[in-house]
Every structure is written in structure tokens, then in C-alpha cells.
């Protein structure tokens, strides 16, 4: 019997509830905390749980009380810094109230709570709050509290965010204790289902850890009944628990918790964060996010699983959530699988959780948030430490194991003691804690930017080792990523360059305007300092440009869309979208960089009859209105005139919008709902052009439209209702988009955006890509080989591309300057006069690179053009790469194409292993098509510069300039 357990068992009822020394809110906490606990539980299980009024009211009350306290606060009266009282429900069910400035970030708040809990390994934890729908959201540590808690009371809960797959690797017992508390809650609430035997076993360890050794005299016969151990606790269960408990004599609480965790971690739903969704056929499923990837459940059955390495990209748009899957055993192409979530918020929540889990468990260090200035879309990234980092950091924890009281948490009859004994008796001084942790954190934060990451499999240590052995030793994490450390993401928000607009460019319409714009953009981008003054002017100019272009494009898009629709309704793609960045409206950008507009329908300002009028309900109304208003203003309308005109126009647009939306929706379900959607399709054929774009900007991630087109390939249920990924024809068309489809990737750097949302961060790309190279090479084994073979995890295996694919791309690599390649752009408009491929760059870098992941895999045999050609090749001195006789073992090859009207950028990424060194080669082909007035030298310089910026750790080894002048305006076969 240890002192701890002894103390605990003596504590019994009167001491069951330990409150903080401050004793704040104790009276309030007393009745509410257990109740709170229970109420939270069902809601946490899923997303469809309706808002609970009781809870809300209660919350409101506490909110009021906390604000009244706030006014009394004499401390900061002068500065008028608003202090908020945040009530946090801790894992043991008690409440803890923290005062934080209203403007404080989530991190400050989280740190305060962790300090209170004496928790050093805090990266596994997080703070949740309930949104208006009473759904649990994770507090973003980088954002201000007040931006996250827009409505409702400042009530939070402290929870485990990332369940460590192997809790025994946690350094401190106290961390494991909190994990246990979370799991007990998960179990009691039913989120973590267990069999009867498991409930018994886990319950017995809980009893041992809380009450200590079995003592018949003191405990009596029904001491287990007061503990909550299972959702449906029966007498039988309690008896079995007692039977087991008797056998644990001498087991310390820490040991009991270790046993508890060792068993709990094996449960199939351990650490799985479930989200309600529907598949393409509207079948109710659950998406489970966990350390190893994404799990798809139907009822209790696992019907599919996508390990993180298998997922190329995750995104969401409106209430759809998409994952793009690496081609695997049964698919030849990448496929994108869409799921419907109950609403946009749920989709976003799921997306965030995925991003965070992937980063935490798969990466060595987090990627930097995107520094893109051309895109909308979320800048959200996981910014904390990854599991690898936190393990490293916690290995350095030097404090003596803190003594902590295990409070009796899950009791049926919660009786609180008023003695106010602090939870931590042996509290280390906060300063000391802070210094240890703080120092580590600073380093970690720097790491985020400067460390490049060795590939790490979070899943299994063995696998890691294997990988490491088979891989060449990757250079130590010293290579700087190309993220500029000096720029904080926030800076970018105000960066005038962000105001650049990314626009859909139409192939037919006035090329010149657009080209000029592009050129000016390029010039700007190419200038050394990215920050420029004279913002307003440029911005206005840019916007005017934008609008002028937009109007022209609307007409074109209209026809383009109509054509597409006619082409085939089987296409499930979103037909067109563009993203637009409105720099002046930064105030309405929400915490993730979305533009959020107040929803008129939610505000209920309007008379009832008006509310039923669809357009008014539309979330796009305000943006539409503003847009039109500014547009009219910019075209020299007077303010009142512009005002009067823009409202009806906006209404008009919004009236059409739902039809557009329903069109998309119906296409998404095209396999079934043909009849119902037909009418709407015809209706909205000519109407919805602007809306997709607008909706993209307001409600969803600004996805590249190239991706949009890939988005509807669906899970199909085949035989026995099992789910398979079925790959739609769309993928094929992707590589060869119809000419009228407009793209808006204006330059090389835009390419990067297509990864993981509107990414450009590159960190993620790098990681993701690196997995390609890090997959252990396995020699092909014959099936007849009578040895036990390790089952190659799908994940790694899949990373090796199919044989043909490889060959094809190697072939291409050899023919850097052939004409056939050059002319492979279908999108070259018919009126071209000259084709001028400007630069081909070959970059090499050992093992490490940032590589944009593209939306398309393409390499097509194309007709060759009759041209006059001129080729100049510059090669770096050390061209060991091209002339190397040993081609090495090809690990992967990838081709990415992006195009604008006059520029085609093709990126080949080949990864090979040669003599133990893995090498990544990136070849970029930029084909500029157009009139003679292009300054080719400048374009070349620009292209090289961009490439260098994108891959600072790679060197440019070869530049081939290849100039062609077409003899005949028509393309012809060679």
C-alpha cells in the first residue's frame, strides 16, 4: 500500500472533491459539474445531437455571473483590458475558473490550465468549447479567444486531443492519469465501446487506482456502486470488478493506470474521433479520425480505412468533405472521395481535426501556415508540437515525479468538500515549469520553420526503424525550409501583395488585358522586397482590373458552363469556381481567413414573409451586394446610384444561387437522382456562373477548380454493401480538360496551392511528398516464395507507382526538349502566333525538397506542331544527374500540370534511390504561349527565381531554353 493510495482511500467521501485553492466558483461548480459531465457526453458522440437547452441556459447564467465579476475587476481598470472569466471543466469533472484577457490567445489560456493541472506533456491535450450548435470544437491556440467564442458563454472543457497510441511512452504518470480520466469519460459516455469483460477489467483498475487496495472492513460490499465504470452498470459488473480488485493488492495507482491504458489502447475505438456523414449514396456512415488515418464506419462495421500515407489531400467545400486517395491496388488513378456532412461547420471541423491529427502523428514538425498571398481559404494549420517533438521534449523533463491527488471523479453522488485543498500539493513553482517547458517550446517553434523533417511513422516504431534503415540517412534536420522565418503569418494579412486577385482566366477573352495583369503581377512578385507601399492605389487598381475581367468572364463562363453541362451530365464536377481575395474586408475574415458575412436569415431582422424569400436567406447576399456595389462604384457610378442598383442585382443573383447549389448537389448524387435534378439543371444552366465563385469565397475553401473537377468520384457499394472506391471517368478527363474550362493558376507558385486546401505552405507538401521517397523499398517477392512475408502495409506499397506510369515519365525525362512535349498543351488558344517555351529547369537535391503537389497527373501524347525551334541549354557544372549511368531505383514519379491561358507549367518529380542515396529531381517545364511581345529573358529569369524560391534547398542544374516559332497557325500531326 502506497502513501498515495492510502491517502486516497482515507479521503473517501468528504474529500472527494478537490477544488482549487482559489476556491472560485466552487458553489457553482458543486451542483453543476457532475451534471455538466453527463450532459456533455451524448453530444460529444456525434454531431447530430440537438442543442440542449438546459445546458445553454445554465451556460448563459454562468456567463452573466462572470461578466459581472469582470466589471468589478479593479486591476486593469485603467488599461481597459477586458478580463474574462473562463470556466473550464477539467477531466475529473471539476470546474476551474481562469481569468484571461479577452484578447488572449488560446495558447495563453491553455497554458494557464495546464499549469494549474501541473501538466508538462500537454501537447496531447486541448481545450474544447461548444459552438452555437452545441458541437464540440477545439480551441485554436493561435487565435484570440474572443474570435473563437463569438457567441455564448465562455465555458470550456479540458480534454485529450491526441490519444497516444502507446501510453507507456508518456514520460510522466500525471499525464497518464489525465489520459485515464479522459478514457473513463469516453467509456462511461459510450464513445469508447467495450465488451462486458473489458468494462470489468478496466473498471477494476480504476477502482484500484482510486481507492487503493481492497479492504473488506473499510469498503464493505458495494463500494464499487458509487463509481461510474460503464454506461450500463449492472450489479453483475460491479461484482466482477470487486472480484478482480481483490487480486490487485499492492498495485500502486500509477501501475493500475498503466494497466488500464495498456488495455484501453487496444480497443478498436480508442482515440477515434467520430463524425457523422453520408456517403455519395446518402448512406449514413461515420468518419473516424485517429492516429493512423481515417476510418469509415457503417454502423459498427469498418467498411474502409485510409491510412494517412494513402491520403494525398483533404479538403472541404461547403458541407462536403473530400479526400484524395493515392492510387492503390485496385485503382489506377488518384481518386477523390466525397462525403456529405450535416453542415459546413461540421465539414470544417472534420477537416481541421484531420489536418491536426495528420500533423501530430505523421509529421516530425508542423508545417508552417500557408503564406500564400494569392489565395483565400484557410490558413489553418496545426501549430503545436507534433508527437515526435513532444516525445523529444518530454524526454528532457527533469522534475521529480510530481505528487498529485487522484480525485474521485466519476461518482454517482458527488459530494464536495469545502476544504479547498489544492489538487497539487507538491506543486512545482510555475516559474520552473515554465522555464523548462517554455524553453523547449521556443525551440520547437523555431523548429517549425527551420527544421526539415525526417520522415517518421507514428504508427509503429518497428516500421520506423525499418524505414530508417532502408532509407538513406536523410540529412539532419538542418536544411531550412523555404518558409521565411521573418514573416509571421499575421503579417501577411496586411501584406499588400495579398490583395492580388486570383482570377479565372478565360481562354478566349481579351488576352491582352489579362496578360498585362499577369505580367505586372509577376513583376511585383519578382521584385526583391515583397512588401511594398502604395497599397491602396494598387489594390484599387487590382480590384478594378478584377472586376472588369470578371464581367467579361461572366459571359464566357456562362457559355462554358452551358457547354459543359451539355457535354454530359454524368460529370459530377463543380463546374467552375474562382477564389477572390477582398483585401479591404479583412475585418470580416474569420479566424481561418474565410470571409464570413452575417447571415441575414439568422439575424431575423426581416419580416417573416421576406425570410421565406430565398435570396434573402442566402449567405451570399451580402457579399454579392457588396461586390456589385463596389463594382458599380469603381465604374464611376455615384454612391446612391450604385446602392440602389446593387441591391436588386444582388437579390437577383442570390435568387439564382440556390438553384446553382442544388444543381451541384444533384450532380453529386447523380447516380440516383437524375429525375429530380433534371429540371433544375436545365433551369440553372445559364445562371449559376458567378455563384460558384462567390460561394467558394464565402462559404468554403477556395479550391482550385482543377480540383473541383475531380471531386466527385465516389465510394460505391458493391456486392454485400461493402464499400469500394469507384473511380469515375472524371479522372481521365482531368488530364485533358476541355479547352473552355477556365483555370486560374497564374504562375508556378500557384501550383502549390492545390495541395491540401489552398495550401502553399509547402511544409506539408514536403512531408507528403517525402513519404514517397521514404517508403521502404521492397524487393519484389514471388508468391511462391515459401517464407513468411511481412504483409506490406498498403500505405507503403501504394507509394510505388505502377510500372507503366514510371516508364512513361522516365521517357519524358529523357526528352527534355522535344517538340512533342512542348506542344502538349491542349489549351493553347487557336489564335496563337508563337509558342515560346521559356524555361526548363532541372533541379536536384538529395532526398529533400519541397514539391508542389498538383491537381493533375498528366502526360499525354499530343500532336506535334510544325515549328522552327531554337534550343539553348545551360547546365550546371556538376551534372551528375543526367549523365549518370546508374539510373538508380525509381521510387516514384509524378507529373503535375497547371495551366493558364498562355502559360503551361509542368512539373515532374522523380524520386530515385541510387547507391543508398535517395534523390529527388524536379523538372519544371514552363511553356509560355503567346505574342512576340513577351520578354522572354525576363520570363526566364522570373521562372528560375521562382523555382529557387520554391526549393531553396535544391540547386538548379540545368536550364534549357527552347524557343519555337510556329510555321502554320494550325496544329498538325508530325
Amino acid at each position: 500500500m502506497t502513501t498515495e493510495s492510502g491517502a486516497d482511500s482515507e479521503a473517501k467521501q468528504p474529500q472527494e472533491k478537490k477544488e482549487t485553492g482559489k476556491g472560485k466558483a466552487k458553489a457553482a461548480a458543486e451542483p453543476t459539474s457532475p451534471k455538466n459531465q453527463q450532459e456533455q457526453l451524448p453530444a460529444a458522440v456525434g454531431h447530430s445531437t440537438p442543442v440542449r437547452k438546459e445546458q445553454q441556459e445554465e451556460d448563459q447564467e454562468s456567463h452573466r455571473s462572470s461578466t459581472s465579476r469582470l466589471t468589478k475587476s479593479p486591476l486593469r481598470g485603467v488599461k481597459k483590458v477586458k478580463i474574462m472569466q473562463c470556466k473550464v471543466t477539467l477531466l475529473d469533472g471539476s470546474d476551474f475558473t481562469v481569468s484571461v484577457e479577452k484578447r488572449a490567445t488560446g495558447q495563453v489560456f491553455f497554458d494557464k490550465v495546464s499549469d494549474h493541472l501541473n501538466l508538462l506533456e500537454k501537447d496531447y491535450f486541448g481545450i474544447t468549447y461548444r459552438d452555437v450548435e452545441n458541437q464540440k470544437n477545439w480551441l485554436d491556440p493561435t487565435k484570440e479567444l474572443k474570435k473563437q467564442i463569438r457567441t455564448g458563454p465562455w465555458n470550456f472543457a479540458f480534454n485529450v486531443k491526441f490519444y497516444p497510441p502507446d501510453p507507456s511512452q508518456l514520460t510522466e504518470d500525471i499525464t497518464r492519469y489525465y489520459l485515464c480520466l479522459q478514457l473513463r469519460d469516453d467509456i462511461v459516455s459510450g464513445r469508447l465501446p467495450c465488451s462486458f469483460a473489458t468494462h470489468t477489467l478496466l473498471g477494476s483498475y480504476t477502482v484500484q487506482s482510486e481507492l487503493g487496495d481492497y479492504d473488506p472492513e473499510e469498503m464493505g460490499s458495494d463500494y464499487v456502486s458509487e463509481l461510474r465504470l460503464a454506461p450500463n452498470q449492472t450489479k453483475e459488473l460491479e461484482e466482477k470488478v470487486m472480484e478482480l480488485h481483490k487480486t490487485y493488492k499492492g498495485m500502486t495507482p500509477a501501475e493500475a493506470e498503466m494497466h488500464f491504458l495498456e488495455n484501453a489502447k487496444k480497443l478498436s475505438m480508442y482515440g477515434v474521433d467520430l463524425h457523422h456523414a453520408k456517403d455519395s449514396e446518402s448512406v449514413e456512415i461515420m468518419l473516424g479520425v485517429c492516429a493512423s488515418g481515417l476510418l469509415i464506419y457503417r454502423d459498427r462495421l469498418r467498411i474502409n480505412r485510409f491510412a494517412w500515407p494513402k491520403i494525398l489531400k483533404i479538403s472541404y467545400k461547403r458541407n462536403n468533405f473530400y479526400i484524395k486517395i493515392r492510387p492503390g491496388e485496385f485503382e489506377q488513378f488518384e481518386s477523390t472521395i466525397g462525403f456529405k456532412l450535416p453542415n459546413h461547420r461540421a465539414a470544417k471541423r472534420l477537416w481541421k481535426v484531420c489536418v491536426e491529427h495528420h500533423t501530430f502523428f505523421r509529421l516530425v514538425s508542423p508545417e508552417a501556415p500557408p503564406k500564400k498571398f494569392l489565395s483565400l481559404g484557410s490558413k489553418f494549420r496545426y501549430s503545436g508540437r507534433t508527437q515526435a517533438q513532444t516525445r523529444r521534449a518530454s524526454a528532457q523533463i527533469a522534475r521529480p515525479a510530481p505528487f498529485f491527488k487522484r480525485s474521485s471523479s466519476k461518482r454517482y453522488n458527488m459530494s464536495l468538500s469545502l476544504d479547498g485543498a489544492p489538487i497539487m500539493e507538491n506543486h512545482e513553482t510555475p516559474a520552473k515549469d515554465g522555464s523548462i517547458d517554455g524553453a523547449a517550446k521556443v525551440i520547437a517553434k523555431e523548429d517549425i520553420i527551420t527544421t526539415v523533417t525526417t520522415e517518421r511513422m507514428a504508427e509503429e516504431e518497428k516500421a520506423e526503424q525499418e524505414d530508417v534503415q532502408k532509407e538513406t540517412p536523410e540529412p539532419a534536420p538542418s536544411t531550412p525550409l523555404r518558409h521565411d522565418t521573418k514573416r509571421s503569418p499575421r503579417l501577411y494579412t496586411h501584406d499588400p501583395l495579398r490583395s492580388e486577385l486570383s482570377l479565372p482566366s478565360s481562354p478566349i477573352s481579351s488576352n491582352k488585358v489579362r496578360r498585362r495583369r499577369r505580367e505586372s503581377a509577376r513583376k511585383r512578385a519578382s521584385s526583391v522586397s515583397p512588401v511594398k507601399s502604395g497599397t491602396g492605389c494598387r489594390r484599387r487598381q487590382a480590384r478594378a482590373d478584377h472586376k472588369a475581367a470578371l464581367l467579361k468572364e461572366q459571359a464566357l463562363l456562362l457559355s462554358a458552363r452551358r457547354q459543359r453541362l451539355e457535354q454530359g451530365k454524368r460529370h459530377g464536377g463543380t463546374l467552375f469556381s474562382f477564389s477572390l481575395h477582398l483585401p479591404d474586408l479583412s475585418s470580416i475574415l474569420d479566424e481561418d481567413g474565410y470571409i464570413t458575412f452575417p447571415d441575414l436569415s439568422e439575424m431575423r431582422l426581416l419580416p417573416e414573409c421576406a425570410q421565406n424569400f430565398l435570396p434573402i436567406k442566402s449567405p451570399s447576399l451580402i457579399p454579392c451586394f457588396l461586390f456589385i456595389f463596389f463594382f458599380l462604384l469603381s465604374t464611376s457610378f455615384s454612391v446612391p446610384y450604385a446602392l440602389t442598383l446593387s441591391f436588386p442585382l444582388a437579390l437577383c443573383l442570390c435568387y439564382l444561387e440556390p438553384k446553382a447549389a442544388s444543381l451541384t448537389a444533384s450532380i453529386a448524387q447523380s447516380y440516383h437522382d437524375h429525375d429530380s435534378s433534371e429540371e433544375e439543371e436545365t433551369d440553372s444552366e445559364h445562371t449559376d456562373f458567378a455563384f460558384d465563385g462567390e460561394m467558394t469565397a464565402t462559404e468554403s475553401e477556395a479550391d482550385d477548380d482543377s480540383e473541383m473537377r475531380t471531386q466527385y468520384s465516389f465510394i460505391r457499394r458493391v456486392k454485400g454493401e461493402n464499400v469500394f472506391i469507384r473511380h469515375s471517368n472524371l479522372m481521365l478527363e482531368d488530364t485533358e480538360p476541355p479547352p473552355e474550362v477556365v483555370k486560374h493558376q497564374t504562375n508556378v507558385s500557384e501550383l502549390k496551392r492545390s495541395f491540401l486546401e489552398t495550401t502553399s505552405g509547402g511544409g506539408m507538401l514536403g512531408e507528403w511528398e517525402k513519404r514517397l521517397s521514404s517508403s521502404p523499398l521492397r524487393s519484389p517477392r514471388g508468391d511462391e516464395a515459401p517464407m513468411i512475408e511481412p504483409l506490406e502495409p498498403q500505405d507503403t506499397k501504394d507509394e510505388q507507382p505502377a510500372g507503366d506510369e514510371t516508364k512513361e515519365e522516365v521517357g519524358l525525362k529523357g526528352t527534355v526538349s522535344t517538340l512533342g512535349w512542348v506542344s502538349s498543351s491542349q489549351k493553347v488558344s487557336a489564335d496563337q502566333e508563337e509558342k515560346a517555351p521559356v524555361a526548363t529547369e532541372t533541379e536536384t537535391a538529395p532526398a529533400k525538397q519541397m514539391s508542389p503537389d498538383g491537381a493533375e497527373v498528366a502526360a499525354k501524347d499530343m500532336p506535334v506542331v510544325h515549328t522552327e525551334t531554337k534550343t539553348i541549354t545551360y547546365e550546371a557544372a556538376e551534372v551528375d544527374t543526367n549523365g549518370d549511368t546508374d539510373p538508380g531505383v525509381l521510387l516514384s514519379a509524378q507529373t503535375i500540370t497547371s495551366e493558364t491561358t498562355s502559360t503551361t507549367t509542368t512539373t515532374h518529380i522523380t524520386k530515385t534511390v541510387k547507391g543508398g542515396i535517395s534523390e529527388t529531381r524536379i523538372e519544371k517545364r514552363i511553356v509560355i504561349t503567346g505574342d512576340t511581345d513577351i520578354d522572354h529573358d525576363e520570363a526566364l529569369a522570373q521562372a528560375i527565381k521562382e523555382a529557387k524560391e520554391q526549393h531553396p534547398d535544391m540547386s538548379v542544374t540545368k536550364v534549357v531554353v527552347h524557343k519555337e516559332t510556329e510555321i502554320t497557325p494550325e496544329e498538325g500531326e508530325d
Binding site: A197, T198, K240, S268, R300, N722, D783, E789
Partner: protein, 282 residues
């Protein structure tokens, strides 16, 4: 302390059932082979004898029922894992009543009985592959989604993934466990495809042992005190090439058992027994 999911392959009891004379003529089969009833009975006796004498299990032998020609294949009517026994609802209607005797027998062994009562559910135990860490349920002619769901409900601790069975009668017609984390798999295309699906669905890593003959991939694995890894597999007469593969398993005690007759009515080695571990808990 023996925790959950410990001791894969540890068994103390086995339930078997006699062969009724009706098996020769009436038992379901996918081929039109003639069954030598006496040979089949000799085979089955030898099988039970191995379990009883050679491996020291306590064998509960249920009497054959002439009205149930397939009753010897007890595996299909019950899935036992830990302390819980799921009495299935076999896909073949003619076999539904086989569960009655099994249920009684398992009750007598003090297992927690879960019955599959849903009229829409079917499940044959032959479609259930328990790897020690999770379940794979083959969706076959005999087993449907609902059946798998009920199984998942009965064994909440484990992930239950579904695997389509394109060819063959059951999932275990071409695979079985050969040890903790070792899957024995046939080399046919459907078998390999099923394995790949299992791989993709699983959080765990498995080794595989590929054997040339699908039917030979059905083995009975046990981990017994004083004996270690035991693998009951097919004989050289049946599948010489596959036996060569098994012989490379150095750590296993290999016990070839003939199955020439029962295989004619689609019976494999695992089909003929339900294995139970009784002393594991309390």
C-alpha cells in the same frame, strides 16, 4: 496480469459434432463429388482424436443429427471469443437448426451467449476470421452485412471489418491464422485480393504465409502450454506443395490431418470444431 486480447490461440475446450449418415447424400456442396461416409467418419474421428489426445483439449462431442446433414461443421454456427459466444444464423436455411445443440453446449460451458435473432441477418462462422486483434467478416453467399453488424455488437472491443468474398464458399475457404499476426493465405487471385483488402482495413500489421493451394490455407492454429505454436494442416497426399511451405515453419508443431472426404462437401479443417478458452478469466 493477463489483459485483454492476450493469449491468441490459447484453447482449453473444443466442441465437435458427429457426422450423420445423411451427409453423404444431402449435405450442401459446390461440387458433385461422392462422399465415402465411412472414410469421412474415420477422418473426423482422427481429427477429434488429435484435439483430444495430441493437443490435450477437452473435447465436447455433440451427437450427429440425421436431419441436419451439415451439422458436423460446427464452426459455422457459433463464434466464440473470450467469454462470449455468438450463436449465428447460418446462411443456408437447412442449417439453422444446427445452432440449438451448440447453444446448449456453450451454455454448459458458462459462456455468455449472444443470439442472432434478426431475421435479416445471416452469418456463417466460416466467414469470420479472428486475428487476435480484430475480426474480418467475409461477405459471402452465406453472410451478410447485418450479420456482420451483429457480430460487431457482440464483440465490441474489436474492430470488425468486412471483406467481400468473390469466390469460394467462405472467407476461411482460402485463409486462416497461422500464428499471432500471421495470416495463411491461398495464392489464387480472389484470395490475394481479399488479403489486400484486409491489409488496407487494418491498423495492424500482419505477416502472410502464402500457400499454393487455397484450400490448404485453412489450418487450425493453437498456442498451447508445453507445446507452443501448433498448426493443424492438410496432408502431403492432399496438397504436397503447400505442405512444403508449412514445413518451413520452424517454430510450429505441425500436425497434418487428412480432410479428403469432408472437403468434398466444402468442409475445411477449421469448420469441424469450435475452440474455446475457458480458464482465461476467473
Amino acid at each position: 496480469m493477463a489483459g485483454l486480447m492476450a493469449g491468441f490461440g490459447q484453447y482449453t475446450h473444443a466442441v465437435v459434432r458427429g457426422i450423420p449418415a445423411s451427409l453423404a447424400q444431402e449435405a450442401l456442396r459446390s461440387s458433385q463429388a461422392e462422399v465415402d461416409l465411412d472414410a469421412a467418419r474415420r477422418e473426423h474421428d482422427a481429427y477429434a482424436e488429435v484435439l483430444r489426445t495430441r493437443l490435450g483439449l477437452e473435447v465436447v462431442e455433440l451427437p450427429a443429427d440425421e436431419t441436419l446433414p451439415d451439422c458436423v461443421f460446427v464452426e459455422d454456427v457459433a463464434v466464440v471469443c473470450g467469454e462470449t459466444a455468438l450463436i449465428t444464423r447460418p446462411g443456408a436455411e437447412s442449417r439453422r437448426r444446427e445452432t440449438e445443440a451448440m447453444k446448449e453446449a456453450l451454455k454448459d460451458l458458462n459462456l455468455n451467449i449472444v443470439e442472432m435473432t434478426d431475421e435479416n441477418a445471416t452469418l456463417d462462422g466460416g466467414d469470420v476470421l479472428f486475428t487476435g486483434r480484430e475480426f474480418f467478416v467475409g461477405l459471402s453467399k452465406r453472410t451478410n452485412q447485418r450479420g456482420a453488424e451483429i457480430l460487431a455488437d457482440a464483440f465490441k472491443d474489436y474492430a470488425v471489418s468486412t471483406v467481400p468474398v468473390f469466390e469460394g464458399l467462405h472467407l476461411k475457404s482460402f485463409c486462416s491464422m497461422g500464428g499471432p499476426g500471421l495470416i495463411i493465405i491461398g495464392s489464387s487471385e480472389p484470395a490475394q485480393k481479399a488479403l489486400k483488402i484486409m491489409q488496407q482495413m487494418s491498423d495492424h500489421r500482419y505477416d502472410k504465409l502464402t500457400v499454393p493451394d487455397d484450400l490448404a490455407a485453412n489450418c487450425v492454429y493453437m498456442n498451447l502450454p508445453n507445446k507452443g505454436h501448433v498448426l493443424v494442416h492438410c496432408t502431403v497426399e492432399e496438397f504436397p506443395e503447400s505442405v512444403k511451405v508449412f514445413e518451413k515453419l520452424k517454430d510450429h508443431m505441425l500436425i497434418p490431418v487428412s480432410n479428403l472426404e469432408k472437403v468434398k462437401v466444402d468442409g475445411a479443417l477449421t469448420c469441424c470444431s469450435v475452440l474455446i478458452n475457458k480458464k482465461a478469466n476467473m
